[in-house]
């Protein structure tokens, strides 16, 4: 008799009155389908078939629409989920920092077999997400609302334990809400680049650690790589929620306590969470490995990189760090609504369009279409009904510009939209924001209510005749919805499948009416342009790319974060002067710009300026502003494979070239990365890439081959090495082996940490790794204190170093 088996999952009875209630609240029109499904899922934690049937019975939504839409968006689950959902980020920054190894470790820890996503006890469900938009914490996972960053394969277990402890003690709400009420964990970043260490940063770190402990400051200490201001070492940066990051230069151990006291004066609001945090900190800060499991409040995830670093210029992110996102008075003090007032009371719609046109502003969503021209087209359309839509469906893995702008400057984006409504003659507007961006969604809801209450939205705005009603819609997980025709289909409650343009939305968009769609950043720039004038904006930047561009700087860079630079600065300036160069003393190899539609530029081409045309010339695109720095440990074939896997997964499926073609490209890349490449594969890959680029229906498909084409162009030697079964960067698991060199001191740390006992526990002797058992999880290399673990690839893999 088997007695140890888990009890069979009992299908809970589905309370169908919930469906009736939600339909009564939300409405039953076809375009409400996605909000309805979201509400159902949030109640049942998945979409029970009975509930979907009920939905079709009591609304005018057809069964076909429900089946089609609920299976299109990755947010929707059709199987019950475990009690807690672990969203593990597979964004670019997380990928290059080992998200795959972390996922493997997590799945091992939960004993998930291939194809399973929920553990036997039904406690955790693991779901990969395209990007959580907190790239500087990579690799990241979110358990329910709690974010864990800087994960490693060996720290995943600690994170799960930490979460369960929080849950046991009923502290989840605190951990989740940390960001919202301003009591989140702060980060104390200390440079541990070679210059900083030389300047005594390790001693400073110890002093800071002691001060944090004695004062019970709600902070985690985070060692960061070189910050690029090497003459000022050691550098300490304090990153607090709602506050500008503070940078201290030439810090001495004796300064530590004063610094901590200055930022962490005991306050009532903090005391509430202190006890929980202290327990956490004890564990975190005594960890010898300096790679503590770090739990983050939502807000601390990506603070803007300190404003004075490098050639930054802040327009869309004006008043960075000085502005309370939801404080209307604060916004007004920072010239908020000056532009709106001026545009409504002193400018004719045509003048606004002309001003925007003359400023040279181009769409910041990626393609760079002249914004003024688009506004003019919508303005000129004869239809009485027009819409203004804000595209906040930032789907690029490795990008978080929209999230940061919406979270930090919601009023600015809304002000831009109201001005646009006036300019094009629209009375209705929609904001489409990724559902993953919960904080942005919450802030926008609050901001919309505030503006309505103040008479800045609704009928008769600012006492003028302008009426503009804005509605917020959450996306449901589909990268392709960043494409404007797909976004409109999604807003209409359909599957987010792009259609052929023309007609463009300016002519026939939402419900067939002329529709203006701009990106978040584009709208955020509008108030500045109205206030400062077209010339002031046009003076910034290059001949054809005017103004500034916001980038999400992440990856192997010492200092990641949200930056805003004038067009025309070079990629190298961004990486080195703002980002502080590559972290950990590695070699700057390449930069990935523009996400899945963009390309990889090698370090040699890093002097290319930030300019739409210049970037396209180099094989990349401006994109929406994701900028992921890669070092010599990043395999370019793996990067190409990573992006293809992404686009292939996100392909809507409409057209043959994208649906099947990207898959066949991925097949080839998979084979290359696992040692199955054959002669002719590179040529076939190129043939497919060009065909997909040339013949796909929408922008997603046409740009999907870019990461492959640029890596083939600049790093062909790496592809050729993979054909020979070699991964020069030591990244592709099937092509590498771990070996132990004679630096080994026999400390047995590797053997103790190895999750599969592939390393014998032999004190004071150099162990040999069992290549059959080895998972290539990289744990041994990470924990080795003396760098005795080598990654080898190539023919020598067959014959690991011989020793007795």
């Amino acid at each position: 008799m088997a007695e140890a088996t888990a009890p069979p999952p009992v299908a809970p009875t589905v309370d169908l009155t919930v469906v009736d209630r939600l339909v009564a609240e939300i409405g039953g029109a076809p375009e409400q389908l996605i909000p309805l499904l979201q509400a159902l899922q949030s109640h049942f934690r998945y979409l029970p078939p009975e509930a979907l049937r009920r939905l079709s019975e009591i609304t005018e939504i057809t069964p076909a629409a429900i089946a089609g839409v609920s299976t299109f968006y990755s947010q929707f689950r059709h199987q019950p989920a475990g009690r807690h959902v672990i969203s593990i980020c597979h964004g670019t920054a997380c990928h290059v920092k080992g998200a795959e190894l972390v996922t493997d470790a997590l799945r091992r820890r939960l004993s998930l077999a291939a194809g399973e996503d929920t553990d036997a006890e039904g406690l955790f469900t693991v779901q990969p997400v395209a990007c959580l938009g907190c790239c500087t914490l990579a690799p990241v996972m979110q358990i329910d609302g709690v974010t864990y960053g800087h994960l490693t394969p060996d720290s995943v277990g600690q994170a799960l334990d930490d979460f369960l402890q929080l849950a046991d003690r009923g502290l989840l709400a605190d951990a989740e809400n940390g960001g919202r009420d301003g009591s989140g964990l702060a980060e104390i970043r200390i440079g541990v680049g070679s210059c900083c260490v030389a300047g005594g940063s390790l001693e400073v770190a110890q002093a800071l650690e002691a001060a944090v402990r004695s004062l019970a400051a709600p902070a985690v200490l985070k060692p960061v790589g070189c910050v690029g201001i090497c003459h000022q070492t050691p550098l300490v940066e304090i990153v607090l929620p709602h506050q500008p990051p503070a940078l201290y230069a030439r810090v001495q151990p004796g300064d530590a306590e004063a610094i901590i006291r200055r930022h962490f004066r005991p306050r009532g609001v903090l005391r509430r969470v202190r006890s929980a945090l202290t327990v956490g900190l004890d564990k975190l800060l005594t960890d010898e490995s300096w790679q503590p499991v770090t739990r983050h409040a939502l807000e601390v995830r990506d603070a803007p990189v300190c404003a004075f670093l490098g050639p930054q210029q802040r327009l869309a992110t004006e008043a960075s760090g000085a502005l309370d996102p939801l404080d209307l008075d604060d916004y007004r003090h920072h010239e908020g609504f000056v532009a709106l007032r001026h545009a409504l009371k002193h400018m004719q719609p045509e003048e606004i369009v002309r001003l925007v046109t003359e400023s040279g502003l181009r769409g910041r969503g990626g393609a760079g279409f002249p914004t003024g021209v688009k506004w003019g087209l919508v303005r000129a359309a004869a239809d009485q009904t027009k819409y203004v839509i804000c595209n906040g469906d930032e789907g690029d893995p490795g990008a978080f510009m929209d999230r940061m702008l919406l979270e930090s400057y919601p009023y600015r984006v809304l002000e831009g939209m109201i001005i646009a409504a006036r300019a094009v003659g629209a009375t209705e507007g929609l904001l489409y924001v990724r559902a993953e961006y919960q904080l942005a969604v919450q802030r926008l809801r609050t901001a919309l209510q505030a503006l309505e209450a103040e008479g800045l939205l609704g009928d008769g705005i600012l006492g003028t005749g302008l009426s503009f009603h804005l509605h917020l819609r959450e996306g449901a997980g589909a990268f392709v919805c960043g494409e404007e025709t797909a976004l409109i289909a999604s807003l209409e409650g359909q599957r987010g499948m792009p259609r052929l343009r023309p007609p463009f939305p300016a002519e026939s968009g939402f419900h067939g009416h002329p529709t203006l769609i701009n990106n978040v950043e584009t709208y955020a720039l509008v108030p500045w342009i109205i206030r400062s004038g077209a010339e002031a904006f046009a003076e910034i930047g290059t001949e054809r790319s005017r103004g500034t561009k916001v980038f999400a700087l992440a990856g192997k860079v010492a200092r990641g974060g949200l930056i805003e630079v004038p067009m025309g600065v070079t990629v190298r300036q961004i990486v080195e002067e703002i980002g502080g160069g590559v972290a950990g003393g590695r070699r700057f190899k390449a930069v990935q710009i523009g996400g899945p539609s963009g390309g990889c530029l090698p370090a040699e081409l890093a002097d290319v300026p930030v300019d739409y045309e210049a970037l396209v010339g180099a094989g990349a695109i401006m994109g929406s502003g994701g900028l992921v720095v890669l070092d010599d440990q990043d395999c370019m074939v793996d990067i190409a494979r990573y992006f293809l896997e992404f686009t292939q997964r996100e392909s809507c499926g409409r057209c043959t070239f994208c649906r099947v073609g990207t898959r066949r490209m991925l097949d080839i890349l998979d084979k290359l990365c696992t040692g199955g490449g054959r002669p002719g594969d590179l040529e076939r890959l190129e043939e497919l890439a060009h065909a997909v680029q040339r013949s796909s229906l929408c922008g997603l498909g046409r740009t999907a081959p870019n990461p492959v084409l640029t890596t083939l162009r600049y790093f062909r030697d790496e592809y050729e090495a993979h054909l020979e079964g070699r991964c020069p960067a030591g990244k592709c698991k099937a092509l590498i082996n771990y070996t132990i060199n004679d630096q080994c001191v026999g400390c047995t740390k590797c053997a103790q940490q190895c999750p599969v006992q592939a390393i014998p526990l032999l004190p004071f002797s150099r162990p040999e790794i069992d290549q059959e058992k080895c998972l290539r999880c990289d744990t041994c290399r990470r924990v080795c204190p003396v760098g005795a673990v080598d990654v080898v690839s190539g023919p020598s893999v067959e014959a690991p170093l011989a020793h007795a």
Binding site: P63, A67, G653, R663, R694, S695
Partner: protein, 532 residues
Amino acid sequence: MPKLTLDNQEVTVPAGATILDAARQLGVPIPTLCHLPGRPAQCSCLVCLVEVNGGERLLPACGTVATEGMTVVSESAEVHAARRMALELLLGDHRGDCLGPCQGVCPAHLDLPKMLEQIAAGCLREALITVKQRLALPACLGRVCAAMCERGCRRGTVDAPVSLRLLKRYVADVDLAAAEPYLPPAAPPTGRRAAIVGAGPTGLSAASYLRQAGHAVTIYEQADQPGGGLRQADLPAEVLQAEAALILRQGVELVSRRRVTPEDLAALRASYDAVLLAVGEVKSNSGATLGLPAGPQGLLAHDYALLDEPGLFAAGSTLSPSRHAARACGEGYGAAQAINAFLRGEPDYPREDLLTVRMGKLSAEELAERAGESSSAARVTPAGGEATGFSPTEAAGEAERCLHCECAKLHACALRAQAIRYQAHLGHFRGDKLPGHLDLTHPEVVYDPGKCIACGICVRLAEEAGEPLGLALVGRGLGMRPAVPFGEGLAGGLTRAAAACVAACPTGALAWRQHLTADSACTDSGEDQDER
């Protein structure tokens, strides 16, 4: 009313018309798979790509609205290549056989599935005609053929292959025993004359098909009886005599006991419009005795035509040695097609298009799914022993064991038709076969998602028909397929739109479950179920 230029022809179309509309107006053939006339374009298959205004991008003609002054190129080399690639991508993971594997491996490419269907329906005369379209000597072959077809038969992986050879023999024996055996009709006389050297299976077969094409045919044979190698085979002499006699009754002249020397050959070439050498195996030296260049295998020819010898053809073992009687017959058929084209002055002959996707090995589950549609009886052995052949009941029962692997819409499949037209290379972008199980819940229609190209036509037709449940495109990307909502079967989704969906589906994904009704089986023109 925009005016545009399409392949250098000017055309004016109504406002809002697409490039495809313009092409149809001009009679320029642009292929489509996913297009439903009169409805908005799906832009899914992209085999209608065209070049527009010399742009770098290729655009689907079905969804691109024609504008004033537009210049469209519909068949450049690049367009052709892109369309071919779209087809290759669609076929690369297609899970289904076009031809039954039996037909694919038969050297004469006999349409065995159709023959079985006709036998099962009791239409023996039609079954014989099906056989004789490829095989001029079926009673002989039914006795001596190596039956490659049975080795290819997928039923063999369930229990035992269908007894294809004996069924073929049964059909032929019934015909030979009839008062008036079937005589294939001949086309009107062409006035052209062909000589055939050798009355073996190749020569006899070629003679039969050349006569059917309307040419005068004379066979020269060195022995006193026709039959060649078949005369040594394990075969009752009267069967061979009877089948050879039937070919002669078509109006073929036989000159026996006549050995053709190189000098004779020259004379034959002077007095006939075409000469076919079907003399059996030629050693390289004996090839020289005919005064013709030979390689190690035999005479050197391309598509049966001897190199640099206009009007002189060779086939069968004369080109490369084979002891396979079915191959010999197939060669006779092929050579007849080539000679017919030559005699009619046509540059090329219509090759039998055998393009077929191969499903490969099926899992036990998949086999069971398909086997459920056919008779579960064990392979029948004739009660009177092999020598007597099948009784009518035995034959019908055995024919019903066929799994019908062949595509129900072989001739109606737009995907295959375009793949043939664009010479698509099936293996070029091969991927894992599409997943999915047959949906057999509907009494009349079968849905095979492995053959679906996700064009969405059925989804739209179901919606137009006001189906209560209908179909939805479910999932996204590569896994996207039509499915009935809420996990129901096809029976729930197609209550009134089934016929329209089967007719419009561009592949065999939606097809009638019954391949042929008794009525349609008994009309020999039967282009499968396509016309139903």
